[in-house]
């Protein structure tokens, strides 16, 4: 209690402002107020899809070990529940939460109130109806049969329309910006507003058949990560790491170089999923070369974020936002290097068509993007709700469940997938031997999924508390541990 009192006094000492500071503070409060309702709507519905999608994912995971479980219920069979999981977490959770983060961040970076708020409400409603319609369709067995594009076209159309309204509001806010310079996070955000609609339109043209359709499928499947989720994650990392630490990004030059290298190389990568497939060799080779060239932008991001954080790692002990975002940023480095290596023919010969790829995809969408979104929400919500997170212990529970859960998940599937691939390549072994060999790893996968679900439940519960401004009133930050801030340990 003594420690808390001391810390409280120290925070009071920070509370004196000059008139100019009060004005800037008032401006920022007004900006935050302008985005409160749409951002909460995006976050709330996104978190709803996260919990739903996590339950669906866990059911699908357990079915690998208990294939007859729930097998008598058609809508809970693996062929339906698995795409339900994928689409709920991708187009529901990550997209909607990402949209909420983009709305808040764009207003802050443009130092302008959000424009066309009505368009954001329309967007959120259309988007959620689209996802709900798509999920119900999948439950009833209506599936386009292409990974990442399972939703029937009307559902996809509603999501696309929602995206256009969202992009309209962001573009209008950008036009009214009060800041001359476009920060590197905004580069990623603005680029995604152009890239994603182009990608979605091209993928849904309906002019592809046979091998071309397979090529388009993986061009889309990989690029939806490239042009939508990765920009969300990197925009968040480039904002929250320096912001929380209180230190500008180490090399801004490197940040912009990373962006343009990312724009140049990343969208060629998708065809490496078809190594060994009936495509022209040059197509696959070009994709592999581009995948390896991704070392350039990834190194630019990794070095930049590491050198920004260096000397401040002790803050990971206290700040929930920083801990989630740094975990996400490190996962980005790991998953990108892994992806570059995975694209090589010699590696792909073993890892392709195995659980290894599933582990890789989860490291990207969860370890990287979702962890950064969690960190962003932990930073944004107290500012727009004007209420601190009531239970830091629940944040700690969320972090460790998510971090250990995804680590178990990825390690288990990487090991199990490699063993599976090696055995499948051995003609002297029956196929079922490769299936049986993965069983222990698949149990660990389910354990990891269970831990992540528990973390999500803690997160969702606390999110409901903060939007209702419920729970104990806090006078100090919702840190993992209260920190004695002195001149000696105060980060500079």
């Amino acid at each position: 209690m003594a420690a808390q009192t001391t810390t409280k006094e120290q925070f009071i000492s920070f509370a004196s402002h000059t008139a100019e500071e009060v004005s800037e503070k008032q401006q920022r409060v007004e900006i935050d107020d302008s985005v409160t309702s749409p951002v909460v709507l995006y976050f709330l519905t996104g978190i709803g899809w996260l919990v739903f999608g996590s339950v669906a994912g866990l059911i699908a995971a357990v079915k690998f070990n208990l294939p007859d479980w729930l097998g008598g219920t058609p809508f809970l069979t693996f062929g339906r529940i698995r795409p339900v999981h994928l689409n709920a977490v991708v187009y529901g959770w990550a997209s909607l939460a990402g949209a909420g983060m983009i709305v808040w961040m764009t207003s802050r970076l443009c130092r302008a109130k959000i424009e066309k708020t009505w368009a954001l409400y329309v967007s959120a409603v259309l988007w959620n109806i689209g996802v709900a319609f798509g999920i119900v369709s999948l439950f009833f067995g209506y599936n386009q049969g292409m990974e990442w594009l399972e939703f029937p076209k009307p559902a996809g159309g509603l999501i696309a329309l929602g995206f256009l309204f969202f992009a309209y509001s962001i573009a209008q806010t950008f036009r009214k910006r009060q800041v001359e310079h476009v920060y590197v996070s905004l580069w990623y955000i603005l680029a995604s507003l152009i890239w994603f609609p182009l990608l979605y339109v091209v993928a849904n043209l309906g002019i592809y058949h046979g091998v071309t359709e397979a090529a388009m499928n993986w061009w889309f499947g990989h690029n939806v990560l490239t042009v939508w989720f990765t920009p969300i994650g990197l925009a968040g990392a480039y904002y929250f790491i320096p912001k929380v630490i209180g230190r500008p990004i180490y090399s801004y030059y490197l940040g912009l170089l990373g962006f343009w290298a990312f724009a140049l190389f990343y969208n060629w990568n998708g065809i490496h999923h078809l190594v060994g497939g009936p495509l022209p060799t040059w197509m696959v080779t070009v994709s592999i070369v581009a995948s390896v060239m991704m070392f350039v932008p990834v190194m630019a991001v990794a070095v930049n974020h590491h050198l920004t954080t260096i000397g401040h790692f002790r803050m990971l002990k206290f700040s929930p936002t920083l801990r989630f975002v740094v975990f996400g940023s490190m996962s980005y480095t790991a998953v990108s290097f892994q992806g570059s290596i995975e694209s090589l023919r010699s590696f792909s010969e073993v890892a392709h068509f195995t659980h290894y790829t599933i582990g890789h995809a989860h490291l990207g969408v969860y370890g990287f993007v979702s962890m950064i979104l969690f960190g962003a929400i932990y930073y944004i919500m107290p500012r727009i709700a004007k209420w601190e997170w009531p239970y830091p212990k629940l944040i700690k529970l969320h972090f460790w469940m998510s971090a250990v859960g995804i680590a178990l998940y990825v390690v288990a599937l990487s090991m199990g997938g490699w063993i599976q691939g090696t055995m499948m390549n051995d003609p002297s072994l029956p196929f079922i031997a490769s299936v049986n060999a993965t069983k222990p790893y698949l149990w660990v996968r389910s354990l990891g999924g269970t831990m992540m679900l528990l973390g999500h439940l803690a997160f969702a519960y606390q999110f409901l508390l903060i939007i209702y401004r419920s729970g104990p009133t806090r006078y100090v930050p919702a840190w993992f541990e209260l920190r004695q801030t002195t001149e000696e340990n105060r980060p500079v």
Binding site: Y183, V201, V202, L205, Y239, Y253
Partner: protein, 72 residues
């Protein structure tokens, strides 16, 4: 749909996408986004006098002097 029409559609989209990318780059150069001054100062735009460099931003949750919780 016959192949030539499909090819025309794809090429049209490629041209539009390429033009957008080029336009973005030209706009960035014209507005001096890559000027030495902006590159040197750009990293600081996320900070201001109220949230200055050197102050960890998770510290902003402080109690106001009137004793009520104040999150801004």
């Amino acid at each position: 749909m016959s192949l030539p029409v499909a090819v025309i559609i794809i090429i049209s989209i490629i041209v539009v996408a390429g033009a957008l990318a080029l336009a973005a780059f030209v706009w960035a150069v014209r507005t001096k986004q890559f000027s030495i001054k902006q590159l040197n100062e750009g990293a600081k735009v996320i900070f201001d006098d109220e949230e200055p460099i050197g102050t960890p931003q998770d510290l902003i949750f402080k109690e106001s002097t009137n004793g009520s919780p104040n999150h801004h």
